[in-house]
């Protein structure tokens, strides 16, 4: 199952920091997000973005995770050379993360 079947995302930025929310559609799926959307798996999925440091905040009351990705935006919106200097497209790239029922724990998400 892909993450996009369990959760929706929104992405914002502060300087060179990207903030990505992952929010369960149904409260009962929050446990799956907490288990499967780890910092390590997120960084592996976004490996080409060269994120320097990642923190995960858990918000069980909202059924949501919030990821703070430092150094993810090549300098941030004011000086990045990237086409998407805000990194607004970043969170949606997580929606095909393999997740929940049917996920094989040893299989890499993407090569």
């Amino acid at each position: 199952m892909r993450l996009g079947e369990l959760a929706h995302v929104r992405t914002g930025d502060k300087g060179d920091v990207s903030q990505v929310s992952v929010i369960a559609f149904r409260a009962e799926d929050f446990a799956v997000l907490r288990r499967d959307v780890t910092v390590a798996r997120l960084l592996a999925h976004l490996a080409n973005l060269d994120v320097q440091e990642a923190t995960r905040y858990e918000l069980p009351g909202l059924g949501a995770l919030s990821f703070v990705l430092r150094g993810a935006l090549r300098g941030g919106v004011t000086r990045s050379l990237s086409l998407d200097a805000h990194g607004k497209t970043l969170g949606a790239q997580l929606l095909d993360l393999d997740c929940g029922a049917g996920r094989h724990p040893d299989r890499p998400d993407r090569t």
Partner: protein, 442 residues
């Protein structure tokens, strides 16, 4: 129980104009706030003010005010906005003139001053909070420094009877929190209510992003009528609990999902959302669908305000030059990659000093950086580079354009651009050193 209705008329400088008019006409509002000042916008505005002492405010100020003032005046809606950017006084004079042109002669327009701390920053040596080093390392490249003011001067202006309050840099939620504090008389150390009001401001400050904008994903998360997206209204009670809604019949939707996305948006620590007037904890917030397009929010907690204010320092950081060109049909990706390599080699051969370069194929790896998936039927090669001079920045685009006749087969639609970079660094300043004030224009 007394309640206040406050709307969001814009979520960024270039936002749509008519949703605010709809709110002023049909929102039954007490207050309408416009958040139009991104982090580096004020640095660009400061540069504009240097060229023209009467300039340096939001370029759409006159257009927005001309559109909204008649209905706002007719319905008694008071306006708060940071469209003053680097020159709130000049902006206030423009609003007075615009109102007079519309036959509205008795509006009281206040400017909030005191966020410009460039002289203090340049004279001192302040540790930067978003990287190593101090403000002194930026040397003569600093073009602006603005402290994020809190609600105090906005509340003062409203208490003196301002119909319209024009600020420069303030904490974005303060544009919404200040009218609530004015209306309800909340104490400056009532951290719980200040946090609840901050949550209202945080949910509203990006306008359409809480009513269904930045949300739609066809077939997964559908949103009706985004071309007529309605901007949000908060109905706030005297304890700071609120309903988020919008004008009936407008486009978009207000649901628990749209509100959750905006609740967490750009919040780095949900247990400590730092603003000038209060540190808010959003981890206990709960949301309830209270009716169609009505979501009740409650549960924000507050902690005492910080001793220091955040300061954004704008500084010159060289130039960026860019060029793009498209390729289509079989082998388009290979021709695009060849184009990128040719430009890289040309810049080296011709001695253009490029400090950093970004080579990508739009449609393949320009935003995702993944470069996997099926071969697309068209790609657009993009080269962006950082230089120390504008002329060298322009040379990057020229080399891309020259691919028309010197590059791979079938290159079309070349485009080029170059601009000076005004970057932003952050520091902190003791709040006692910042002295906000209010000036009325007539």
């Amino acid at each position: 129980m007394k309640s206040v209705r406050i709307g969001a008329g814009a979520g960024f400088s270039g936002d749509r104009i008519e949703p605010a008019v709809e709110l002023a006409e049909r929102g039954q509002l007490d207050f309408l706030a416009f958040e139009c000042l991104a982090e580096r916008t004020i640095a660009l505005a400061q540069a504009a003010r240097r060229r023209d002492p009467d300039g340096g405010f939001d370029p759409l100020l006159e257009r927005r005010m001309a559109a909204v003032l008649p209905a706002a005046r007719a319905n008694g809606v008071r306006i708060v906005t940071n469209m003053g950017a680097a020159n709130p006084r000049a902006a206030a004079r423009v609003v007075v003139r615009t109102a007079a042109r519309l036959g509205l002669h008795d509006l009281r327009v206040a400017a909030v001053l005191g966020d410009d701390v460039e002289a203090l920053i340049v004279a001192g040596d302040f540790p930067l909070t978003d990287r190593a080093g101090t403000s002194r390392d930026l040397g003569g490249s600093i073009v602006s420094a603005n402290a994020y003011l809190g609600i105090a001067p906005i509340v003062e202006a409203l208490q003196q009877g301002a119909d319209i309050v024009i600020t420069g840099r303030v904490g974005d939620p303060a544009l919404f929190l200040a009218p609530l504090v004015h209306a309800f008389g909340w104490a400056e150390d009532d951290w719980t209510r200040l946090a609840r009001g901050t949550l209202v401001g945080h949910l509203l400050e990006c306008a359409g992003q809480v009513t269904g904008g930045y949300f739609a994903d066809p077939g997964v998360k559908d949103v009706p009528d985004l071309a007529r997206l309605g901007f949000p209204i908060a109905e706030v009670d005297e304890d700071g609990d609120a309903i988020i809604t919008k004008v009936a019949g407008s486009g978009g939707k207000v649901t628990i999902a749209t509100c959750k996305e905006q609740l967490l948006y750009e919040v780095l620590d949900p247990a400590a959302y730092v603003q000038p007037d209060v540190v808010s904890d959003f981890t206990g917030v709960h949301l309830r669908q209270a009716g169609p397009d009505r979501v009740a929010i409650a549960g924000a907690a507050g902690k005492p305000r910080p001793a220091a204010l955040k300061v954004s320092i704008g500084y010159q950081d060289g130039f960026i030059g860019e060029g793009q060109i498209s390729y289509a049909g079989p082998n388009a990706v290979a021709r695009g990659r060849l184009a990128l390599e040719i430009v890289r080699e040309r810049l080296a051969l011709t001695g253009v000093r490029v400090e950093e370069i970004d080579l990508s194929l739009i449609g393949v790896d320009s935003v995702s950086r993944r470069g996997v998936g099926p071969e697309p039927s068209e790609v657009r090669a993009r080269v962006a580079g950082r230089t120390r001079s504008l002329d060298e920045a322009r040379q990057i685009g020229r080399e891309v354009e020259a691919l028309y006749t010197n590059g791979p087969a079938g290159g079309g639609g070349a485009w080029m651009g170059a601009h000076e970079v005004i970057a932003v660094a952050s520091t902190l300043i003791d709040r006692e050193r910042v002295r906000p004030s209010v000036a009325f224009e007539s």
